[in-house]
Each structure stands twice: as C-alpha cells, then as structure tokens.
Symmetry: C2
Subunit: 287 residues, 2 copies
C-alpha cells in the first residue's frame, strides 16, 4: 500500500513527487518515461522562474534530471480508472493495479473536448486503452482516434486484432501502413449507438463500427475517477488542492487555467503537502 | 499610471513580474535589489522543479539572472501603505508614491508574530519605516526592533535624530556603535501606552519610550492594506489569487502555507494572469 499514487508526469506530477520524496513518503509516480509530449513541444518558455528562455525540450531535460538526481523513477503506465475504496484508492492501469492511501491527479488537460456520446458509451464500445480492451475487438471493425504519434504503436496492435481499423490521427505526419488500416483525416463529432457503439459521426462522414478507441494523453477526469466533482471539464479543487473525494488531490492543468508550468509546479507542491497532512491526520485518527 | 504594481521581490513577486512582462504589461516591481534575504538564507532546496539541490544563494542568483535577461529592473522601496482609491491604487513607499490599476501583494510572511499592541498603536508611536517617520522623533527616546542586518543603516539614521535608541536585534551578530545606541538582547512582548506609545514590554524588562520602530521585511498585510481581509495573519485569497479588494491580488507566503518556492512561483503566475484578465474586463467595461 503506497502512501500516495501520483498520476501524471507533467510539471505538476514531477513537483508533487519531488516534495513527497523530500518528506520521506512511499509513493509511485505513474506516467511516461518521456514525462510529457506537451512540455517537449513548447517552443520557448520565458516565465518559468529561474530558467530563462528555456525550450520545452530543455525544461523536460531539467525535470528528468531532477527526478534522477533525487532517485525517483517513473513507472510507465496508462491509467484507466481511479476508484475510491473507502480507506484507500485503487488505480488501474493498462498493466496492473496499484493501492494507495491517497492519490494526486496530475493528468493534464486535453485540448480536444470530449466528443458527444464519449462518456455515455464508455465501457460499451468506447475505450481509452488498446492494451486493456483490444482483445474484446478480435475480428471486429474499429475506429481509432489519436491525438499523438505516441499512440501509433497501440493502433498497430489494434490492427493485428481487428478486422479493420479506421485510423483518425488528429495531428500531422501520421504514417501507419498495415493493410487493414485506413487513415482518414476528419474530426469526430459524435459517438452513436444503442446498447453499444454502432457508429462515429465525423464532420465529413459517418463510420459504422463495433468500437472506438480514443487515444489521448489526458483523459477527462470525470471519466477517469467515478464520483469526482468537475466543472467545465476541470477538477474542482480547494486552495489546498483537495477534491470532493477525501484523500484525492489534484494539481496542474487538470484543475483549470492558467495552463502554465509555474502554476503546475506550485499546485503539485501544495497537493503533496496536503497529502502529508492528510496522512498525518489519518494516522492520529487510528490511534 | 501602471497596469500593475508588484510589491515584493521574493519568488512570488519575481514570478508575477516575469509573466506580466511576457504579457506586455506596464508594471513596476518594488522590493530589494538583493531580492530576498530569506531566499538567500536557505541552505539547500531540493524540491524546486528543474533546479536540483540548489542553495538559497543559487536560487536567488537564478531569479536575478532571469529578471535581468528579461529586462526587468527592481525598484528598491519599502512599502508603507497600499490604499484602494476606487478605480486605482496608491502605493506609498519610503521615497515616493506609485499609482496602479492593480496591485499584486507578494510581501512574504514574517516569522515573528505581531506584538500585542502593534496594530493598535500603528501611526501613534509604532512605525515600520525610519525614513518615513524618523523626523517625528527628533530628540526623543525610541526603541528599534529589527529582524535583519539590512535595517542597521536605518537604525543608525534614527540614532542621528533621536536622543537615545534602544536597539533590539532579533538576529545574531548585530553591531552598531553610535554612542546613543544601547543594544539589548530581548524579545518584545507588548507595546503599551495611552493616546500614544509609552513603553515596550520585553520578556526580561520594560523600556519607556516615545516611539517604537519595528523594522522587518514583511509587514502584516492587514497593517499594510486598510480593509484587506485576512485570516490568521494571511491574506484571504480565492483560487485566482483575488482578495476582497477588487483589483488587488496576493501571492506567495503572504497567502498562507505551505511556505514553499514552488507554491510561491505558482501563485505569482496565477496572480499575474488574473491581473491581465481584470485589466481586459475593465477595458471592456469602459467601452
């Protein structure tokens, strides 16, 4: 049982991890070895105090170096669900599950809005994770919408199972060559069906299918954590980064604007302190 | 008329200034050329993301370098009062006054609690600023309590005016040699008097006097800004760093715990964004 499970390796998650480490907590940092493709994509950052005119790549390297120098490892994982179990939390990923007394959600924000029907059909034909749900679609017809080249491997995996894949990259320069992959440039507008997904409506066409994979780096917090209070797609937090779920805290872009590195590291720090306080209070309760 | 007056050159004030600069605002940054003696005193900081195991001196140098590289100058000033004037703010310092459409208060926190009677006698024998009020004590007997060697010059100035100065340094290694300065090692407990200050009660003795100068880097926000809502000595702020006074925002240690660099730069960033939004909305109102 971890003291804390930090979900996300952007600026907020890294900041939370550094403070938890400084405070001697037993935690796991779930995310990407590459930290964040969003940070990396930033051209020049001028207002992250102490690192003038740094590139996104430079900031990413500085954060990676900081984690390494503190002996903090990133556990590569794609989180598919966070469940409040009463006294603790279960965090499910593509590979396994983790148990923690507390959770810090630092999942970032997706610039693409949820598609109509996305939450409604979640678990009934809508999936966020090829590794988790791919086997359900053996010999079926699927749609895979992806926001990043990081997911091309997942799409290839899906194509090895499905009869056919309509691949909809929402970025430039995608190239997938499997015979049963048809690449389509379009914008998803709605997911429709009856008991299960039957079709995806795009701006220019409608595609019949048995399932749709929405492959994106930041999943809507409300889809990830049942019962979590959100507002306009952002996690509702107090000044101490606490949410409506006791023991679950949120930090960084997922809590709302401004989407800024300085704000994210600040909230990561605050959330980690709130976790320490929460753990100390629960320990006292038990005595 | 400035778009914004940033008060304080700790991590929060520097972060706010960097973001205001990036957003092209017309602002003044009031504080110390040395930024903050508190930052400088930190031995090693392990959880400021991107700058692993940095000393306080190192972080201070990094922040100073960042300001310089962005062409932001610090205006040395000791702020003695912030007054809401309706559509704008007047900020009074030891030297002059500044007018701004908005204010970001980033004044830090004083580890020394206000002394009993301090706020009650403010302006009636209690002063925070030798340059501002020294002349009122020509030939009088005064007490000067100081939290930092930075104020020794002010105490010397006071000794050139007053008949005698009881100097109470709350730090080690103070050395002032003027004949009419008596250095006393004690802790102030209460300021007492009738219409005006008559004496300061210390832990070990009581000193009769005509006035008391409390020389400290962070003045209690409630003493600095009439009408500002505080709680337990901290400025009450919303998540966007707004206070109960429209157009006045607060960031960093002065808004409460955790007293951390990451939290301070985060709030400085958020406060600057809130200032930009506030300015944009007021401009629209006027059209």
């Amino acid at each position: 049982m971890y003291d804390c499970i930090v979900i996300g390796t952007g600026a907020a998650g890294v900041s939370a991890a550094l403070t938890l480490k400084a405070r001697g907590k037993n935690f796991v940092l779930l995310g990407s070895k590459n930290l964040s493709s969003k940070i990396e994509a930033a051209e020049e950052i001028n207002n992250y105090p102490g690192l003038p005119a740094i590139s996104g790549k430079g900031l990413k390297a500085a954060l990676l170096n900081h984690l390494q120098s503190c002996g903090i490892a990133v556990t590569p994982a794609q989180v598919t669900g966070v469940y409040a179990m009463g006294e603790s939390f279960s965090v499910l990923t593509d590979g396994q599950s983790y148990e923690g007394k507390t959770v810090i959600l630092a999942t970032g924000v997706e610039s693409v809005k949820p598609v109509a029907g996305e939450l409604e059909f979640l678990g009934r034909g809508v999936s966020y994770c090829a590794t988790c749900d791919g086997l359900l679609y053996k010999g079926k017809k699927i749609v895979a919408v992806s926001t990043s080249p990081a997911f091309e491997e997942e799409v290839e995996y899906l194509s090895s199972l499905a009869s056919s894949v309509v691949f909809v990259p929402l970025y430039k320069g995608a190239k997938l060559s499997a015979q049963n992959i048809q690449t389509v440039r379009d914008m998803p507008r709605a997911i429709e069906g009856d008991m299960r997904v039957r079709r995806v409506v795009f701006a220019k066409q409608t595609v019949e299918c048995d399932g749709v994979f929405l492959l994106k780096e930041a999943i809507a917090p409300s889809a990830l954590v049942p019962g979590l209070k959100t507002e306009g797609g952002h996690v509702s937090v107090s000044r101490d980064c606490s949410t409506n779920l006791k023991g679950l805290f949120a930090a960084g872009d997922c809590t709302g604007r401004p989407y800024q590195y300085a704000k994210a590291v600040g909230e990561g720090n605050v959330a980690a302190h709130s976790v320490c306080e929460f753990l100390s209070l629960s320990d006292k309760d038990k005595k």
